[in-house]
């Protein structure tokens, strides 16, 4: 009873190696040829036969398989149970409660600390805001005072100018003074000519023309 071993599908691997690199994943399934490809010349009269089966061996093999499957099923169920038990232990085991409690305590402590920090920051903020408000007030008052002062200065300046003008009015030439002033001007001729030396000395004594 010679049973032939089934060879690996080399054609599949060959197709994989020879296929060009493409963006889409090309999978080779069940050989290289499609349904419409013609049969090879060397395989024209071939009739495929399955490998011969030894009945004695087959019986023994069937027995072995039933045993094997039984054991495998039992193992599988065991492992499943173990996985479920582990999960259960994780969630509702003895350690889980303690861990949850500790976490809750930590959380409470941290929240308390956070609240205290907030209060501290609040106090600091209130003080700061108060100070800033006072500063603003002071600055406003100062600005008002400054403006007042400037206004006063302005008024004083204007008054001085008015006084100056009032004094100058005495020297103005009006229609009444016109004749008098002309007479005076003609009587007192003034000489505006002067000479300047090379050394820069100014000489105002000139001859009246």
């Amino acid at each position: 009873h010679q049973s032939s071993y089934s060879r690996l599908p080399l054609s599949v691997q060959v197709a994989r190696l020879l296929a060009p690199r493409s963006a889409v994943l090309v999978e080779a399934v069940r050989g290289r040829k499609s349904r419409t490809d013609p049969v090879a010349k060397s395989k024209e009269g071939r009739i495929k036969v399955p490998p011969p089966v030894d009945p004695v061996e087959m019986v023994v093999l069937k027995e072995r398989y039933t045993e094997y499957k039984l054991i495998m099923r039992a193992l599988r169920l065991e492992f499943k149970e173990e996985v479920l038990r582990k999960k259960y232990e994780e969630e509702t085991g003895s350690q889980a409660e303690e861990r949850a409690r500790q976490e809750a305590e930590e959380h409470r402590a941290l929240m308390g600390w956070n609240n205290e920090e907030n209060l501290r920051m609040l106090k600091a903020r209130i003080l700061r805001v108060q100070k800033e408000a006072e500063e603003a007030e002071r600055k406003k008052i100062e600005a008002a005072i400054q403006r007042e002062q400037e206004q006063q200065e302005f008024i004083k300046e204007k008054e001085r100018e008015i006084l100056q003008l009032q004094e100058e009015v005495k020297n103005f030439i009006t229609t009444e003074n016109l004749d008098q002033r002309i007479e005076e001007a003609l009587d007192n001729p003034k000489n505006y000519n002067f000479a300047v030396n090379k050394e820069g000395k100014v000489i105002k004594q000139t001859v009246l023309q």
Binding site: E27, E57, R76, F79, K80
Partner: protein, 135 residues
């Protein structure tokens, strides 16, 4: 028959998990090395896997050993979650002792033994025949 398939199953997985061999370092010719891997059924053989559970080197080393490694803890977990091992993985695990021995391992060993017996029977018979012819 070559058919095109889209970049498979990134998010949706109607398939199941398998524990199988994936060829590692497949750019090297004539030097295979397998990873024992938990992957979805429809993924490419060498494509993205869920977790690596061991390795297998099919070529014997200088001390004539083939090295295999298993992460038994995680294998138990995956089988408990309903993964299917493939035939070669089941055979290897049977030889390792984690599973029961696979029936085909035993059957093939018996066949090999029977073949070796017939060869040893034939060769002394041939030797006897030659001795008879010579004498």
């Amino acid at each position: 028959m070559v058919h095109l398939s889209s970049l498979l199953l990134k998010k949706y997985h109607g398939g199941h998990v398998v524990i199988r061999f994936a060829l590692a370092g497949h750019k090297q010719a004539n030097r295979p090395f397998y990873r024992i891997v938990a992957a979805y059924n429809k993924r490419a053989r060498d494509g993205k896997y869920i977790e690596q559970l061991g390795s297998y080197d099919p070529l014997p080393n200088i001390y004539n050993e083939k090295l295999v490694s298993f992460n038994f803890d995680r294998i138990k977990y995956w089988i408990g979650c309903g993964a299917h091992p493939t035939k070669p993985v089941a055979k290897l695990l049977g030889l390792a002792g984690f599973f029961p021995l696979h029936p085909m391992t035993i059957t093939e060993a018996e066949r090999r033994g029977a073949q070796m017996e017939t060869e040893t029977e034939e060769s002394p018979k041939e030797g006897q025949k030659q001795a008879d012819v010579e004498s």
